[in-house]
Symmetry: C2
Subunit: 338 residues, 2 copies
């Protein structure tokens, strides 16, 4: 497959496209439902559960970055939306919009990375579509993944379940993905040497759900908009004031450095391998232990709690006794970060 470039014929539904599908996608993704080429994958449902269904578009630039690439990101992004919603990820679909002239070697690298991430997450890739647009009508490659998974009977997660006193936990340092991608773009005056945290969270989410049961109120992966976006959404949904101790939130030194340089708040930076969990105060200690004993949650921290109801806002307590409102930025400091 290597050596060539994507042409309009690769998106035509004709012979060139058939070859691309058979020699790359079917070969690498290697799934019997995909091999049927039937435009429709057929899956056996889990007994007694509900279906979880989600989608994400990925337009990140550059398509390869330290710690990942757009393919790994596309798989992890959708797997993680399923996992933090309490669904056991089952299968993904992927839609590729490719720019004419895209190097086939780059496409192959991305597709192989998707397969590796899917294997890591224990999920199948069962359906796909590819469209090719002319030069200048896309920037190399955009990938939209959708995912399905089974939610066990009795699992009920959601920010509307958060009550005053509940504890907020993060599974690791925030902002790595955002800072790593800004670094990879060469937009910083220094080299930071950061890796994106891009990883599937299915195993971590499963462990936490198993340990806490209904004491686990809600989980979410703070991707676009970072911790700021998720905390504000949670506050709006539960109607509580959420209080975060600034010093308790783990942020790497390198990420702090990038943020100071660019005038960004690390809480606004996207993560791609971290989850925010809200748990019953009686189970917070156990939840923290479960997270820390898992390789993907070794640096988990208790970062705050849900305060009184009736004031849906997010407050950050600073080290010297002050506090600030954590509000969402109006503009977009970080286009195409995921």
């Amino acid at each position: 497959m290597t050596g060539g470039r994507i042409t309009l014929a690769h998106g035509s539904g004709g012979r060139a496209m058939g070859e691309l599908v058979r020699e790359l996608f079917l070969e690498v993704f290697d799934d019997p439902e995909l091999r049927r080429l039937d435009d429709l994958a057929r899956l056996e449902p889990a007994a007694g559960g509900r279906l979880g269904f989600t989608t994400d578009c990925h337009v990140i630039t550059p398509p390869i970055f330290p710690g990942g690439d757009i393919g790994r990101l596309a798989v992890c992004g959708t797997v993680n939306d399923l996992a933090v919603g309490g669904a056991e990820p089952q299968a993904l679909s992927c839609g590729f919009v490719l720019e004419e002239g895209l190097e086939l070697a780059l496409l192959e690298r991305i597709v192989r990375s998707m397969k590796a991430a899917a294997r890591e997450a224990g999920v199948r890739i069962v359906a796909g579509d590819t469209k090719v647009v002319r030069r200048g009508e896309a920037d190399r490659i955009y990938i939209t993944t959708a995912g399905v998974g089974w939610i066990a009977a009795g699992t009920a997660l959601g920010p509307e379940r958060i009550r005053p006193g509940d504890r907020l936990l993060v599974s690791g340092p925030v902002g790595d993905h955002g800072a790593a991608v800004l670094d990879a773009r060469g937009e910083l005056s220094m080299e930071v040497g950061l890796d994106s945290d891009c990883r599937p969270l299915a195993s971590l989410a499963r462990a936490l759900l198993a340990a806490c049961g209904p004491g686990l109120r809600a989980m979410r992966d703070p991707t676009r908009g970072g911790l700021t976006a998720v905390l504000n959404e949670f506050a709006r949904h539960c109607g509580c004031r959420l209080e975060v101790e600034e010093e308790a939130v783990p942020v790497r030194e390198a990420v702090r450095g990038v943020c100071e340089l660019l005038g960004l708040d690390p809480f606004d930076l996207p993560c791609e391998g971290v989850l925010l969990a809200v748990v019953d105060p009686a189970q917070a200690g156990q939840a923290l232990e479960v997270l820390r004993s898992h390789p993907d949650g070794a640096h988990a921290q208790l970062i705050g709690e849900a305060g009184r109801a009736g004031e849906p806002e997010v407050v950050v307590r600073t080290p010297y006794g002050g506090q600030r409102l954590l509000d969402q930025p109006l503009g977009d400091p970080l286009p195409r970060i995921c």
Copy 2:
């Protein structure tokens, strides 16, 4: 919502994006699962059936064309993949890649059209994502839909079930969509006044499946690559020679005119509201009646049959006793047609 344009802030995960999501997508799509804004929709499964899962990317230009638009196309395309696979369409996800500067009025028109098509097809829109890229990094709007539906126990459709003697039926004239979009692009020296056939086929597929049961071997909607692509794929899967009577295939005069002008074969043109069905010869008459008594299949025709096994090719018999091999084009005469 009208009057403005899409900015990078609409894709940021911040406040501008929240407004777009709440005031346009939630308002128009109006689904309780979408309103939960939980990154994950939860659906009740049908008892005893399997899950059907599919995806399609849509990059058509122009985004509004006679008989439809990219939104209607995105809904119908995915609904139809579910329907012809024997699944009862249940819910869709939609991923938008928007170019900075896109008119909000155009986006609103497209989103409202998606909702109307979804209502027509009896399907919910339950999950979505939006990304904004800079000017020149996309051509206005690309939409990737994924869909889930339930396949009743006992339903088994697939081209591998086709046997010698089975009959081939189309539910209506072929090539309307392709010719209408070429017309809309102003690339023809004449004005044709054609409408795309873009429509949901769920009801028609359901009627045929109910009437024929296991006598219905396979269905497919000949979209990209047209009848040529589907017939060749069916031949490859069943290992039979498929024989088509050229004169029996319904093609509108206007579509023939466009094809003559551009040197295209109408069989290569995409349809977006037609299905090809393969049925047991004993049920062909009944199947044709079922199709013709449905408003979406009024012009259905018996177009050919499966010949002997061992020669997976497609042969078209011409009116004067000749025949030609119907092979797939190598290049792409029709970029961004769907």
